[in-house]
């Protein structure tokens, strides 16, 4: 064996084992929640959660008695609406930042970065007052607007980074061939950064899906998203941990699955700016 090549045993000891320990710490709580959710409620406290006698009883009860389906639909409308608002407003803005040099560009870009610097609590109080005045409390629109406060600057930021990756010469070529700016954007740039747009959209979907404080403050009896529903469960079924954890799994599942699908592209887009800067 070469002198500098570390042996397999050493690698297992210094890399594999610590990594496995960190992964256990990372995934343990999630797995524990899952195991609890498929355990029989009646034996949960006597024998503890276990994989033997797995049951889906908690899940069927969840949809039958608690009405989780409606909450899922509300979350879906809010998250989907936020994706549409966030993406449609930021495509042209991102293109403008990526392709033009104009007066005030720095300030305007800074403005979109700064938005995310302010604590959410500064926004949540006035938004409540605003929605109350406009009569929008307890509607999907109110939640879409609230989530857009985060989604718009975020997607502008991401899309500028994706568009910068597409050579300017391509839209110039399209314009020499007779396209207008907007046509160049629609026919050349957008299709090329479609993967990036999809990743951004999915990320917006996940954050809106997971959002809780706005949903609690601006929602109500008609519009109750899944996160608020899970929290209400905690209050109502205090010690029925089988049911509660089933609610947690259902609430987290869509976001988790979507996230695993796009994480590679998303992380490269997110970290690009940080690594270069």
């Amino acid at each position: 064996m070469a002198l500098h090549k570390p042996s397999t045993a050493k690698r297992i000891l210094t890399v594999d084992l610590p990594m496995a320990a960190i992964l256990v710490f990372t995934l343990g709580p999630y797995l524990w929640m899952f195991i609890t959710s498929i355990s029989d409620e009646s034996t949960l406290f006597t024998e503890g959660p276990s994989l033997l006698n797995a049951t889906i009883e908690n899940y069927t009860r969840l949809f039958r008695t608690v009405g989780f389906a409606e909450n899922l639909l509300d979350s879906f409308i809010v998250a989907g609406g936020t994706v549409i608002v966030g993406l449609s407003l930021s495509v042209t803005a991102a293109y403008s930042f990526s392709r033009f040099n104009f007066k005030g560009k720095r300030i305007l870009m800074l403005q979109f970065l700064l938005i995310n610097m302010f604590p959410l609590v500064l926004l949540i109080l006035p938004l409540f007052v605003l929605m109350r005045v406009l009569g929008l409390l307890d509607t999907h629109i109110a939640l879409i607007i609230a989530n857009s406060t985060v989604a718009i600057p975020f997607s502008i930021w991401m899309m500028v980074s994706y568009m910068n990756g597409i050579p300017r010469s391509l839209d110039e070529a399209a314009m020499t061939d007779g396209c207008t700016r907007m046509q160049a954007l629609r026919r050349v740039v957008l299709p090329l950064c479609l993967p990036g747009i999809i990743a951004t959209g999915i990320y917006i979907f996940i954050t809106s899906w997971n959002e809780y404080l706005y949903a609690l403050t601006l929602g109500g009896r008609n519009v109750r998203t899944i996160t608020v529903a899970v929290q209400t469960l905690i209050g109502e079924y205090e010690v029925q941990w089988g049911l509660l954890t089933a609610g947690g799994i259902v609430g987290a599942l869509p976001a988790t699955v979507l996230f695993l699908l796009v994480q590679k592209r998303l992380i490269s887009g997110l970290t690009q700016g940080a690594v270069k800067g």
């Binding site: 500098h4 890399v15 990594m19 960190i22 992964l23 990372t26 995934l27 709580p29 524990w32 929640m33 503890g48 930021s90 042209t92 803005a93 403008s96 930042f97 033009f100 104009f102 560009k105 979109f112 938005i115 610097m117 604590p119 609590v121 500064l122 926004l123 949540i124 109080l125 006035p126 409540f128 607007i145 406060t149 718009i152 600057p153 502008i156 207008t180 700016r181 996940i206 997971n210 959002e211 809780y212 404080l213 403050t217 996160t227 899970v230 929290q231 905690i234 941990w241 509660l244 947690g248 609430g251 987290a252 976001a255 988790t256 996230f259 695993l260 994480q263 970290t271 940080a274 690594v275």
Partner: protein, 302 residues
């Protein structure tokens, strides 16, 4: 197709000057309306006595709300917790994230799987995170007590979240768990951008692994770590939802932090004037910290 040939040159260049602004207008207008206008409104509300169940009562009180906050014992308790909370959570996340990133940068057979799984806590809704940790900390049936009892580390079950002495520490552990994957992913990206040739040159010169880490790795990722810490400070400042669901700020005021206190004041007491004042104070404090941090790290890097 012949738009361009029809328009005179001047008009085309005028169009070119206006176009970027036109394309920005929708996004700028909407953010002005839903972000900047509400923020100003918070500042405005903080200067008034404004309790929501007295609808017509919106009296100018100047800085009275701020004076009241400075004389409010709970404000100082919350401030203390906010400082403890940020000064422990962020370094813990950074350290654990750094170790994880260094491990993920090594060569081992199941690396792709580890890289994909490590990020999961990041994608979970904060309510679900709160739910599962409340279950873990449960005083009667929680696995934390079970585990520690079996290991013989504690003699009797501890009600982690109900005991004022352990509640804040328990929540800090949860927040660390939630946030360290973010650091790991950011730092990993930084590590991958360091050219392999640096290490080859260093080991030819006989530099030890520790010296390589100190002189190549750390400088190589300092920029990323700086950005990550900054983003995290702001994010941690926002993440009172986990605390809100886990303890609601209790027992007593044991887990109150400033943003949570502002939120509770407005939500439970409907005292929007006072709540806004605390929110504004918190924002100002946070901005001072951020500016100070940027100045210090900016100097350190250059």
């Amino acid at each position: 197709m012949t738009h361009v040939s029809e328009t005179p040159k001047q008009r085309a260049s005028l169009g070119r000057q206006v176009l970027p602004y036109a394309m920005l207008t929708p996004a700028v207008l909407v953010t002005l309306a839903i972000v900047f206008f509400p923020m100003l409104q918070t500042a405005w509300m903080s200067l008034h006595e404004y309790v929501l169940f007295r609808p017509n009562d919106f009296t100018w009180v100047g800085l009275d709300n701020f004076k009241a906050a400075l004389n409010d014992e709970v404000f100082w308790i919350s401030l203390k917790h906010t400082i403890v909370w940020m000064c422990t959570t962020i370094p813990a996340q950074l350290l654990l994230g750094l170790v994880t990133a260094l491990l993920l940068n090594q060569d081992f057979p199941w690396r792709p799987v580890a890289r994909a799984l490590i990020i999961i806590p990041w994608a979970l809704p904060s309510v679900v995170i709160a739910l599962m940790w409340v279950w873990i900390y449960d005083s009667n049936y929680g696995i934390a007590n079970e585990f520690l009892l079996r290991m013989g580390l504690i003699q009797q079950a501890i009600p982690w979240l109900a005991d004022p002495d352990t509640a804040l520490a328990s929540i800090i552990l949860t927040l660390t768990w939630q946030g360290f994957p973010f650091f790991a992913v950011m730092i990993l990206a930084g590590l991958q951008s360091i050219p392999q040739s640096y290490y080859e040159a260093a080991s030819i010169d006989g530099a030890s692994a520790w010296r390589q880490f100190w002189h190549i790795t750390l400088p190589g990722i300092s920029g990323v770590m700086m950005t990550a810490v900054l983003l995290r400070m702001i994010w941690v400042a926002n993440s009172f939802d986990v605390i809100f669901v886990m303890t609601g700020g209790g027992p007593g005021y044991a887990t109150h932090t400033l943003p949570l206190y502002a939120f509770i004041k407005a939500r439970t007491n409907l005292d929007f004037g006072y709540g806004s004042a605390i929110a504004v104070l918190f924002t100002l404090l946070l901005m001072v910290v951020v500016v100070f941090y940027l100045k210090r790290t900016g100097k350190a890097v250059s």
